[in-house]
């Protein structure tokens, strides 16, 4: 067997073998590895390449080494799932860097991390003032994560004491002019509904690049032809406006009428609508 042919064969086999093995090894982000995992992946890569170009002359020796590194790593992953102690031993534990705004110099020293490096990592997280930090921790992957002091964290609707409507994830129902049937069914619609909506918007399917349905069943369309201005339907705002107007009108009927019984009806129903509007507001206006 000529050498070039052998290399061709080995490379071909290893290419697909490694592809399969890496799929088995999982979805871990290669930039978020613990140092040991990084070394492990590197060793796998090096063994593979040495075997492929015939530097490890016996193909099966190469495969054996490859197998050991992959199987042991899978075994350790499995054991780490089972036992916290093994997990900490293999993956390492996180180290606290800042507590209640105070830097833990001892821990920094253990990690051989200088103050400058700490500040650099904080800036990466868009924290420029050490004084804004309540708590910071270095994960076993070497990433630093920061919890800001409560007055420096972004506002949420909870902080404002405002109720907002819960929402479900949007479903992408059109991509590149093709209807995606599974997400459409997930959103609770069928192609008839979609065709109706497209007709209402006055566009053809093949002019739609992306179409998404949000949790309340509203369809958003992005067209290939950007010169077409799609009307933005304000159905929810109009609905709220309708209720608001009806409510105001009933209040004025209440003022105008002399009939005691009628007064009561108007008053009750105006109050009912008012309550209804308060309940609907988070769903319609936000």
């Amino acid at each position: 067997m000529p050498l070039w042919f052998e290399i061709l064969l080995r490379s071909g086999v290893l290419f697909f073998l490694v592809l399969v093995l890496m799929r088995i090894m999982g979805k871990r982000n290669p930039t978020r590895l613990t140092p040991f995992q990084f070394v492990n992946y590197t060793v796998i890569a090096v063994i593979t390449s040495l075997t492929a170009v015939n530097i490890i002359e016996n193909f099966f020796f190469g495969l054996t080494a490859l197998g050991v590194f992959i199987l042991l790593s899978l075994l350790l992953d499995y054991l780490s799932l089972r036992s916290k102690a093994i997990h900490d031993l293999v993956q390492g534990k996180e180290t606290v860097l800042v507590v209640q705004g105070k830097v833990m110099e001892e821990n920094l020293k253990d990690l051989r991390l200088t103050g400058e490096e700490l500040l650099r990592e904080l800036r990466r997280k868009e924290v420029f003032n050490l004084g804004d930090v309540e708590f910071a921790v270095m994960e076993s992957t070497g990433d630093i994560n920061v919890m800001l002091k409560s007055e420096k964290t972004p506002l949420t609707s909870y902080d404002l004491g405002r109720q907002v409507s819960p929402r479900r994830e949007p479903q992408t129902v059109i991509l590149d002019g093709n209807v995606l049937n599974d997400p459409l069914a997930e959103a609770g619609f069928n192609s008839n509904w979609l065709n109706e909506q497209l007709e209402k918007a006055g566009v053809t399917l093949d002019n739609v690049f992306i179409g998404q349905v949000d949790g309340q069943g509203e369809l958003y369309l992005d067209l290939f032809d950007d010169s077409i201005q799609l009307p933005q339907p304000r159905v929810k705002e109009a609905l709220y406006g309708n209720l608001e107007r009806a409510q105001a009108e009933m209040e004025s009927f209440f003022q105008e009428t002399g009939d005691q019984e009628a007064k009561e009806i108007y008053e009750n129903n105006a109050a009912r609508l008012k309550e209804l509007m308060e309940k609907l507001e988070p769903y319609l206006l936000r």
């Binding site: 929402r167 069943g217 609905l239 009108e249 009628a262 009750n268 609508l273 609907l280």
Partner: protein, 68 residues
Amino acid sequence: MTTASKLKQTLSSLKNARGTLRIYSTQTREEEGQKVFQEALETTGQVIDDLEKRLKEMELQEPQYEGN
């Protein structure tokens, strides 16, 4: 404009709102939202019933309002 015809207008905008609420109560996927819209649908329906009853009374009492 007479009170009866004003009331008719209010009724029609409420019915309009009820239709839209019905659409949202069926097409909202999120459960809590579905419930809120369904309750809203019911309440609106009750308000409409009340007002329609009132409208009928008015038309009985003063027949000249009819058709305005």
